[in-house]
Every structure is written in C-alpha cells, then in structure tokens.
C-alpha cells in the first residue's frame, strides 16, 4: 500500500495556479524526489502535505487516511516530519532542546508534572534524551549539543533542521532543499545521512532538491512539476528521457531549416 497518496491536488493564490491537478504516490520505504524549476510549486506541495495550506480540491491520504482538513499539529503525531527550506529553527535554544522539541508529540508531561519535575516527568526527560542522543550521534553533532542554534554556521543549522525532523522518528520525512547553499563535501555528508536514515531506519524520504546529480543518484521515484502541473513521474531513467521534462529544464530546440 502506498504510504502517501496525493490525488488531483489544486491550489491557487489569486489568479496563479500554484498547483494544478497534481497526483503521485509514495511507496513505503522509498526515496521520492519532487523537482522542478523555481516557482513550480514544490514548497506549496509540501505546505499542503504538512497542513499550512489547504488545497482547493483533491485529496491527500496518509496510510489510507485523508489528512486534508486535519490541523498541522495533528499530522505530526501521525508520523509526518518536516525540515524547512529557509531554516526555521528555534534560534535561542540549544541544539538539544531543538531536537527535544521534535519529540514534543511523543512526550506527555503537562503543566503540573513539568513544573514539579519529579518522578515520571524527570524519567520521561531522561528517556527522551536517550533517543535524542541517538539522532545527535547519527548526524555527528556531539560537539555542538549545548550550543544555541542561532550561533551555528549555515551548514550545521541545516543539519540540526534535519535532526529535529528525525527526532520524531517519523514514517515519512519531508526534506525541503536540505542541501541548498552547501558546498560539495557538505552535500556529500547530507546525502550520506539521507541514505542512512532510509536504509537503517526504513524512513520514507520525500525530497525536494535542485542538484540533479544528487536527485538522480538517490531517488527511487521522481515527480517533476512545472508551473504547478505534474509533467513527469517515474524512475530517474524515465525522467531523464521524458521530453516534457527536458523541455521545461532546457527549453525547446528551435526548428532550423
């Protein structure tokens, strides 16, 4: 069964159709990439999935359950995590606290137990600290765990952003351009992390990225958007040969006689 099914989703802002009748499916345990030129509607698509936008029509199903109309914070507890394109970390908090926030829905402590910090609440903090430390180890951030995120360099912030999504132990992770603005060695690290989380933890990855080399190497399936329309869907090989995709990226060859 597909883990995430997007069917005929459309949304418009004023006269602009940001998404026009887009459909595709994510199978459990695959790396899926959504590509397209700037302004094609990729981030709008993610916003529809995580609940920041409400599509005008269509349906988005997570494990068979319709999630359109569900509040964003409820979708998180289903197991959908997201890393933002323009880093949206909690700048004044340490890396550790940012990651712990990623586990917010997995924790229970309320106003009273938090305030007393005794017995169950303390045990909970320690248990979740264990899980968070695993993410820290996985992303190789041991030396910065107590550093306030605001003071970190860009590349590390991106990594914390991915870490915060991973801390949720999600079934699907939505990564919005996790490698934007990185140099090639940082990109290599990030690609390795994506492959590892996919292989070791069996997380389904939904990736938005501009670097074609990375996309073609990592992805199992690719969907291509252009001006809100899906113009291609398939394996990397199929996409590379798709004439519509080539047209969108390279333009049309002029007919010369």
């Amino acid at each position: 069964m597909s883990i995430l099914e997007v069917e005929n989703v459309s949304i418009q802002f004023g006269g602009v159709k940001a998404l026009d009748d887009v459909s595709y499916k994510l199978e459990k345990g695959e790396i899926f990439s959504l590509i397209g030129p700037n302004g094609a509607g990729k981030t709008s698509m993610l916003n529809c999935i995580s609940g920041l936008y409400k599509p005008a029509s269509g349906s988005i199903r997570f494990k068979g359950q319709e999630i359109i109309g569900m509040k964003p914070y409820k979708r998180t507890s289903l197991g959908i995590a997201r890393a933002f394109q323009n880093i949206a970390l909690f700048e004044h908090m340490s890396v550790l606290d940012n990651l712990k926030l990623g586990r917010h829905v997995k924790m229970k402590a309320g106003l009273f137990s938090s305030g007393l910090y005794w017995g169950a609440a303390e045990k909970e903090e320690v248990n979740h600290r264990h899980s968070v430390e695993q993410v820290i180890e996985f992303l190789e951030m041991q030396d910065i765990r107590h550093t306030p995120v605001g003071t970190l360099p860009y590349g590390l912030k991106k990594r914390v952003e991915v870490g915060r999504a991973l801390a949720l132990e999600p079934e699907v992770i939505l990564l919005d351009e996790p490698m934007a603005g990185m140099n090639s060695s940082e990109k290599e690290d990030m690609a390795r992390f994506i492959l590892d989380m996919h292989e070791l933890n069996g997380i389904t990855v939904f990736l938005i990225e501009h670097d074609m080399g990375v996309i073609m190497d990592l992805s199992d399936k690719i969907a291509v958007l252009d001006f809100g329309k899906r113009i291609g869907f398939g394996t990397p090989e199929e996409i590379q040969e798709n004439p519509d995709v080539i047209k969108a990226y390279l333009g049309e060859q002029e007919v010369t006689t």
Partner: protein, 353 residues
Amino acid sequence: MKNPFVMECGNYKTRYDKDMAIFSTKRVKVRMLTLTLLAFLFPLLADSYIIGLATLCAIASIGAIGLNILTGFTGQISIGVGAFLGVGGYTSAILTSTLGWSFWIALPVAGIVTASVGALFGIPSLRLKGLYLAIATLAAQFIILFVISRWTGVTGGTSGMVLQRPSIGSFSLMSASSYYYLCLMILLFTIVYSLNIFRSRTGRAFLAVRDRDVAAQIMGINLFTYKVLSFAISSFFVGVAGALLAHYTMIVSPELYSITVSIQYLAMILVGGLGSILGAVLGAIFITLLPVGLGMFVDQFAVYMPDMQNTLAAFQELAFGAAIILFLIFEPGGLAHIWSNIKNYFKLWPFSY
C-alpha cells in the same frame, strides 16, 4: 581546599539527569543554598522598614516572573498586568473580607480566578501578534478596571476594600518579618516551578511558540492551547502576587492597579532581562528599589540645597525613565545578561583568553 571564588572548569557529566539538573555543580548548589539562607536570616538583623521593602521586592518578583513567562518566554506582549494584579487582589479581598474565607484558601483561588480571566483575554492572541496584541491586552486593562470601579456592590467601587493580614491559628502574620517569610516561601516555589517548566516539555513549547510559531506548529504544538496556557499560568502568578500585595498593604482600590503599574512590570522584565527567571527577580528588585534609592539621594542632597527640593523631586522621575532607556540601549539582555557576563569573565580569570 580549592579557591572557593574561582569558577569550576572541566566539569564532565556521566548521566543525563545530572546534565539536565538546574544547579549543575556542587559549588553552585552550595552558593544557592547560602543565598537562600541569607534571604531567610536577614530579617533578624534588619529593621522593619528594610524588611518591608524586601517583602515588596519578593511580591514584585513573583509578578515579574509571571509576566516574563508570558512576554519573555512565550513572546506574547501584555500591558494588562496591572489589572490582573487587581483581579488577584480583589478576589482575595472579596473572599476573605466579604465571604469570610480563610486566606490560605483565598490565595490559590485568587490565582486560579486570575488565571481564568487571563486565559480569556489570551484567546485573541491566536490571531493577534506584537503591537496588535498589546492593544488587545490594553483593552483588558481598561475593561477590568472599569468593572472593578463600577461594580460597587461587590468591590466597593472607588473607595476600595479593607483586608486583614492572614493568620495561622491564633498567630497573625502582622509583623513585617512573618509576612516577609510567607512571600519568600511563595517566591521560592515560583522560581523552582518556573525553572522546572523551562527545562521540560511545556516550557520548551512556550519557547518554540516565541521563536518560530510556524515551525512550532509543524513540531506538533497546538499554538492556541499553548498561548492560552501561557496566559493562564502567567496570570496565575500575577494573581497570587496581587493577593499577597493586597494583604500586605491591607487595602485594595482601583487606582492601585492603573496602567502605570503595568508599565512598571514591563520595565522590570525589560531591565532584568526578557526570558530569564533570574532577570525577572533582579529587575523586580531594581525597579522596586530605584525610586527608594533616588528618594534617599534627593533627601540627602536637599539638605545642602533646600530651595532645590522640588526640582530634585522631578529629577527623580527623570532618572527612573533614563535608567530604563539606558538599559534598552546598552544592555538589551538586561541585568541577567550583565550577571552572566560577569560570571563568564571570572570563568577564565585572571587570563583573558
């Protein structure tokens, strides 16, 4: 014996619960214990005027911590603190004087009533941000004061109400030091509670709402619940402070809870440091004692220049404003930041790098 004044370095933890403790090293614990002991012992040496000032500082600290939870930690600005203090004070006054309840029940009930009123006025915060929310809370200030001064049958209108000091059995907390101890205990509880909140789930959610509300939503935080919760818990402490203040001055009347009080509390957390429990306490002490200090200074000075007394009195107000402006310009982090700078300096002392 190591030098007790230098900061500890190379402090490594082997367990997570140790790493997440409020006071991380033995030395810090000893220091905090000493400070608490000093706070408990000093009434033995001071006269009742000083103890009275200390009581006011403790009460203001409770209120300032409450406001800081809302404004400093959750990022929701509120100009209605004065009125919320009034809700706490009047609730306790009505419960103890009119209905004859015991103070020990009236105090938490005053907190809970203020929390409900605060939560009610916090509901618009889902849609309103920044200055707009400030204006909405300003409306709270005026609505509450209007109700207090017009609902004559219950609140006594503009003439106010008279309260009694609480008593345990037959022992009344009439003396300055006994009431000081009561306020100090409640302040300690408030400090510990809020320190705990901000190292666990609920407090982290508050901080997340302040730093990035969109991301907080995606992390699974219900913005509405947590904003209202923050208003409620903040107002609870403000209400308790209001009740304590009312039983200390033994009178409540509408003009004691004007917008000036709201501004004063905002000044406390600005001068002390937004988003810091220590800052709230330091700021409350600073703002409470500043007029007293300035007044003493003016009195001293007036001896030499008797004809200047009126001018100097005006100067007092000026200095109050100037202090706040200087803090905003030169140390936006507030007193708490100055303190952490001093600590960091001595961490490496006497080597500057």
